[in-house]
Amino acid sequence: METFIGKPVKRREDNRFLKGAGKYTDDIKLHGMTHSAFVRSPYAHAKIVSVDTSAAEKAEGVVAVYTGSDACGTIGVPCGWQVDFKNGETMREPMHPLLAKDKIRHLGEAVAFVIAETLELARDAAELVDVKYEALPAVTCPKKAMASGAPKVHDEWEDNAAFDWCIGNDRAEVEAALANAHHVTEMTYKNHRLAPNAIEPRSYIADYDVNADKWTLYTSTQNPHLVRLLLCAFALGIPEHKVRVVSYDVGGGFGSKIYHYTEEALLTWASKEIGRPIKWTSDRTEAFLTDAHGRDHIVHSKMGFDKDGKIVAHLTDEFCAMGAYLSTFAPAVPTYLHGTLFQGVYTTPLIHLNVVAPFTHTVPVDAYRGAGRPEATYLLERIISKAAKEMDMDPAELRFKNFISPFNGTTEPGYQTQVALQYDSGNYEGVLKRGLEMLGYEDFRKEQAEARKNGKLLGVGISTYIEGCGIAPSAVVGSLGARAGLYEVGHVRVQPTGKVSVFTGAHSHGQGHETVFAQFVADKLGIPMDDIDIVHGDTDQVAFGMGTYGSRSLAVGGSAIIKSIEKVLEKGAKIAAHKLEAAEEDLEYAEGKWTVKGTDKSISFGDVSLTAYVPHDYPEGVEPGLDFSSFYDPTNFTYPFGTHIAVVEVCSDTGKVEIKRFVACDDVGNVMNPMIVDGQIHGGVVQGIGQALLEEVVYDGEGQMVTGSYMDYAMPRADDIPMIETDRTTTPCPHNPLGVKGAGEAGAIGSTPAVVNAVVDALSHLGVTDIQMPVTPKRVWKAMQS
């Protein structure tokens, strides 16, 4: 019988995607649907003096115009995570209004909302809204936002801090260890701001049905149930059972579509006001200005070593921008998704991280592929490579010296870090050894020395990462400030004919769930993949769910489905035993049938399914039907890890960096579909290379965005990227039934420091010790000059 786990099964969903036949929110057209446009602030910080909508209201085809002075101006969207000050003060949480009323706090903040019969008329009318602003000085840098006299984002507090938080060992203890260290390596840099750039911009349709008194919100989101919960319980206060949230195909998210955005709530509110459906689709300019950004940390770090190169202490202070308001998960990103990874893959005995998270006059910052872990990995992997250079050691050797020893998490315990988490299983030296072997590290060093003699600038950069994903145990995240649980729901409905519908609360926005989930369900039930349908993205169909982010879908969502499959098989065995006139314990289930052990008497999955729904000859006390739902709340995060190695050549004339080779050896636990995992690694690596070399959101001193289009914001293109050489080691996750970790973010976490380490290595003989990302030709050339 054909099995599917571990095989490169082609993605089912590609049939529609490759034909342009996907069903995205903007593809939906409803009867009587109106269209809308926003009037957005051209200033980052301003007083709103007046808003005159009279001309817009009279314009052709206009249905309604709303401003912050209407009822919607008193509504705000909530933050989903609370991180308090280390001194006990509660996190400062400003109202995040659907429309600004008195004050503008970031470029592109919505001031008025225009609904019209067509999109063209909505756009034209939006231009007729006359807003008078009084521009105010803005602050966009998180460090400058904490300087005395900095312009304040919210007047109600004495400074811009949303919170000031720390994790790890006692600061004084860490400082003392650094003071006594044989060698201390220091770094100051910016982990710069990125725009998420999903290819499908955000798009929403809100449809209030007057007769049924029900709302439907079609939305390009990564988690429909969470949007419904936040929309109903916090933003609008409308009954959850009367709201359906639907997201069919979603064209990428990278985190930016996790959050509950103001536009979702405003459209839902306004749809009832006008009694008609309303559509809004962001254009690319609005996406740059209003999608939650990623990163934006200013970092100062010290790592101390003993004379043998063992790390003795690590102390870091960071300023991490929150933006103008707190987006859904924003406070968690530079704290519990970041500081908790400061152990890295090393035995560092003393760690302390302090994070000051200020409001800034920018769009909110939130999780972006990797969310806090790329920032932690960048720091650890850059500083250890810098230290190796300073101590005249090989960067691989210094890593081997400091690795946590291999542990499997079953017969050997997990590894307790200094920063709250306990790693599940790992073999860090294994991935580095394999990575070095894939590259031919020793031979490369010879080639590099030879190339240098000829004036060629070749460099190699190593990064050995760990990340915490598969979020997560609800009790743990609850104790860390999450305001929601982070379990997942898996519902297996066996139809009378033995065909299976699986409902998952995870939500695919490009990951291939419809294929991967069907693969393991097929194997566990012993039925063909074609007999299985995966349903997601509709709150009326799926009982509940927490969506897809944090590389959690398979580890958490897949495990929930496994629990339901176990229930199906357990009940099926009772029915089978009855039909076969045998005892349950005498049955075994394999290849889609129950067989009486040692005999040829068997009954197929399909016959049992039919019996369950046509229960004429049926076991006593057993309910009809074969339909189970389960909630799975994991006992721990999962901890994928790996080694990424980049080889670069720097053009000595122009400073342009070319990546000659990129090697990735990742360990994501057991692999369901190696082709999809490779694809996830490839995509992540490209995003990581994008951050290292190309992408950066730049605001000028007035808070205007310098890089607000693809003319200035450099996305990686195919010819920027080398062939990515991948391999894997396999260290199963010990605490979930499939033994899987997560692969969605790993590529973006490991790759960035590998590239920058390689560039610095290429230039090290010229005295270059660090270069600010993105490592553009200009920055490289200037570093070579100084």
Binding site: E120, T654, K656, V698, T707, Y710, Y713, K778
Partner: protein, 268 residues
């Protein structure tokens, strides 16, 4: 990404287009390939009331040999130029330049006449028309005239075209030994620095785009050249106050790149 309202008129002859330009004045824009104009209109940065589409005018998209010259209709797309056997053999510098403009979609729509009239300071063609001493053939209400490339570019998005004039063709001499070197901006793939070089024995003509607001002939390089690429050190002589600067390349780096790319062009 929806433009403001505009009226669309498809001109069927050059004289009709000129008449329309005369009639509508500042309110009108000529639509050729539209690859700069349409995005600007979608962002509502440009809001012409009338678009005069010249794509249907016959005779404006041919590439012909005229003695020692090649005449390229203004409506020829970059792809037409890339794919022209005549240009590939007699004016290779232009074909190899066009090959690196934008992407396939841009090359299939964007035109040489549109690009020159738009005069984007980072466009590729200006360097080539300068180095080749091409002539821009234009027509307006007072008739036809020919503008030497060296007199055509007046500043950022500014040319010697009068308000009622359109480019009808570009007349290039045949060029045996020319090359174009481009260092592109990683986001837009426009030229940060683009250098066209036409060599004839020990004399050289060098056109530079992307460096100053106005594309220029690097006459200091040409004067200093006597077969050695050391002359490249003069790439920005006299232009110190006119260097462009942006977050990708400031004046200092741009000036350096100009020298590097001129050297590369001289050595090619």
């Amino acid at each position: 990404m929806i433009p403001a309202k505009f009226e669309y008129i498809k001109a069927s002859s050059v004289s009709e287009a000129i008449g329309l330009l005369e009639k509508h004045g500042d309110d009108a824009k000529i639509l050729s390939g539209g690859h700069s104009l349409i995005p600007a209109m979608k962002l509502r940065l440009s809001r012409p009331e009338v678009l005069i589409d010249i794509n249907g005018i016959s005779g404006m998209n041919s590439i012909t040999e005229d003695g020692n010259e090649i005449l390229i209709g203004a409506n020829c797309t970059h792809a037409d130029i890339v794919n022209s056997d005549l240009i590939n053999s007699e004016l290779n510098i232009l074909a190899s330049t066009a090959k690196h403009i934008g992407d396939i979609q841009v090359r299939n729509r964007g035109t040489i006449g549109g690009s020159l009239a738009h005069a984007d300071p980072a466009a590729d063609y200006p360097a080539v028309v300068l180095a080749c001493d091409a002539k821009i053939e234009v027509e307006g209400k007072s008739g036809k005239r020919t503008i030497p490339a060296t007199e055509f570019f007046l500043g950022i998005f500014t040319t010697a075209l009068a308000e009622d004039e359109i480019i009808t063709a570009i007349r290039f001499p045949k060029v045996a030994n020319g090359n174009y070197q481009k260092f592109f901006q990683s986001a837009s793939r426009f030229a940060v620095v683009g250098v066209a070089c036409v060599k004839d024995g020990n004399s050289v003509k060098v056109g530079v785009t992307g460096v100053a607001g106005t594309p220029y002939r690097a006459t200091a390089v040409e004067d200093a050249y006597s077969g050695s690429s050391d002359a490249a050190s003069h790439a920005v002589d006299g232009l110190e106050d006119e260097l462009m600067s942006d977050h990708f390349a400031d004046e200092e780096y741009r000036a350096h790149l100009a020298k590097v790319m001129v050297k590369k062009a001289l050595e090619a």
